[in-house]
């Protein structure tokens, strides 16, 4: 129950419809007999009313698709899946290393075998299909844009369309040298070639143009614009025309 004369807080609560019904009636009766206070209250009500009216326009802003909750949710999930995938890649690399064989040899002698990680990535993702892609291309232009988000002014994706290969998916990997990306190309027969890009690493391990073959895979590698690159393919379909950089 409010006491009369009301304090200023009661008047505000009245304006904001936050008084209990009984208090409200008591105050209304009192205001009827006190024109000064009533005028004050009326002015506040008026301001609130005008404010509501003039701010209602901003409720009708044209929709912004970037603000769609489902889209934002998908983006967040993609980011966390990427972190998970990175962890998975490390795990796989470690377990393969434990089995011995060429994996272990390549992992322990990265400087001897240029772009061994590119070939390993090709085995895991292009041949074994271990993990889903981070990005799927709508056309080659969007794949380039996806890559540009992570690599600044790097060499353009090679155009392998004369041999029938189109970029279809991309994925990000964590390597000792920094973030790497592998873009997978496919031709209508489902054969695969990968383009691999990563920073040269702390020792600035830039590479001369070259190529090597290991276990049925061929890697062509080179450096430029601050990154190392490799094109990896099964040895029998190595695209000799790729190295036009």
């Amino acid at each position: 129950m409010i006491s009369l004369p009301p304090c200023e807080r009661d008047l505000h609560a009245y304006v904001d419809h936050q008084l209990p019904e009984s208090d409200r009636r008591v105050l209304e009766t009192w205001l009827a007999a006190h024109p000064d206070a009533a005028a004050q209250v009326h002015a506040w009500q008026q301001d609130a009313h005008v404010l509501r009216a003039s701010l209602s326009g901003t409720l009708q802003l044209p929709a912004n698709p970037d603000l769609d909750p489902a889209l934002i949710r998908r983006r967040i999930r993609l980011q966390s899946r990427r972190h998970l995938a990175t962890a998975a890649v490390l795990l796989i690399a470690v377990s393969l290393g434990g089995l011995g064989g060429w994996h272990a040899r390549e992992a322990t002698q990265p400087s001897m075998l240029p772009m061994a990680d590119a070939m390993q990535a090709f085995r895991l993702f292009a041949q074994d299909g271990v993990l889903p892609a981070d990005y799927r291309a709508q056309d080659s232009g969007t794949m380039q844009a996806w890559l540009d988000r992570y690599f600044n002014q790097a060499h353009r994706l090679p155009d392998l369309s004369p041999s029938g290969f189109k970029p279809v998916s991309g994925r990000l990997l964590n390597t000792e040298q920094g973030t790497a990306a592998m873009v997978l190309y496919e031709d209508p027969q489902g054969r695969r070639i990968s383009f691999y890009i990563r920073p040269p690493g702390p020792n600035n391990g830039f590479l001369p143009h070259g190529s090597r073959t290991a276990n049925g895979l061929q890697a062509q590698y080179w450096s430029g614009a601050g990154y190392n690159y490799a094109v990896v393919s099964p040895a029998d379909l190595a695209p000799t025309h790729v190295l036009q950089f």
């Binding site: 404010l51 701010l55 802003l61």
Partner: protein, 168 residues
């Protein structure tokens, strides 16, 4: 579809309105709303909120705005230090005479704008506002009173400004 998406979608226009009234700029308002939604979606996963979803979102948005604002201010001070200029903030803004309630509203400080929007426009309860600002109920009331007083004074400029022009 996630249970939260539909209620969030419905509140987007209100969040954008609040963000515009804080930033006074449509595109940075949308950035603010976007980061608010991101935060809401991530935090919803590990903690169910009690009470009004709208009040919760308003409080996230308000915090994010204050953080960003503080960063900008720090940057402005740094800039002032290096360029040797004292006042990088436009002082014009403060001297403009209000010609409408909306213009008067735009001249209030951040907290006053938020308060009036929450209470007068969105109809949040004093208790909800107290929780958002993390201050006692009495403090909300006295700040609200000051905000209303300030809006009144600035709106009164509406009447004062034409007569000033005639005198000149």
């Amino acid at each position: 579809m996630h249970e939260l998406d539909e209620p969030l979608r419905e509140l987007i226009p209100r969040l954008r309105r609040f963000a515009v009234s804080l930033t006074r700029n449509a595109s940075s308002a949308d950035d603010l709303v976007q980061s608010t939604l991101e935060r809401a979606i991530t935090r919803w996963a590990d903690k169910r909120i009690e009470g009004d979803l709208r009040a919760w979102l308003f409080s996230i948005l308000y915090r994010q705005f204050l953080d960003a604002h503080r960063r900008t201010r720090r940057y402005a001070r740094m800039l002032a230090f290096f360029t040797g200029r004292e006042d990088v903030q436009p002082s014009v803004e403060r001297t403009v005479i209000a010609q409408s309630t909306l213009q008067a509203f735009d001249q209030l400080n951040t907290e006053q704008r938020a308060l009036l929007l929450w209470v007068s426009v969105e109809g949040l309860s004093y208790k909800e506002v107290a929780e958002i600002l993390d201050v006692p109920l009495g403090t909300v009331m006295s700040r609200l009173s000051r905000a209303r007083q300030a809006l009144r004074q600035l709106s009164d400029g509406e009447i004062a400004s034409p007569s000033l022009r005639i005198l000149k």
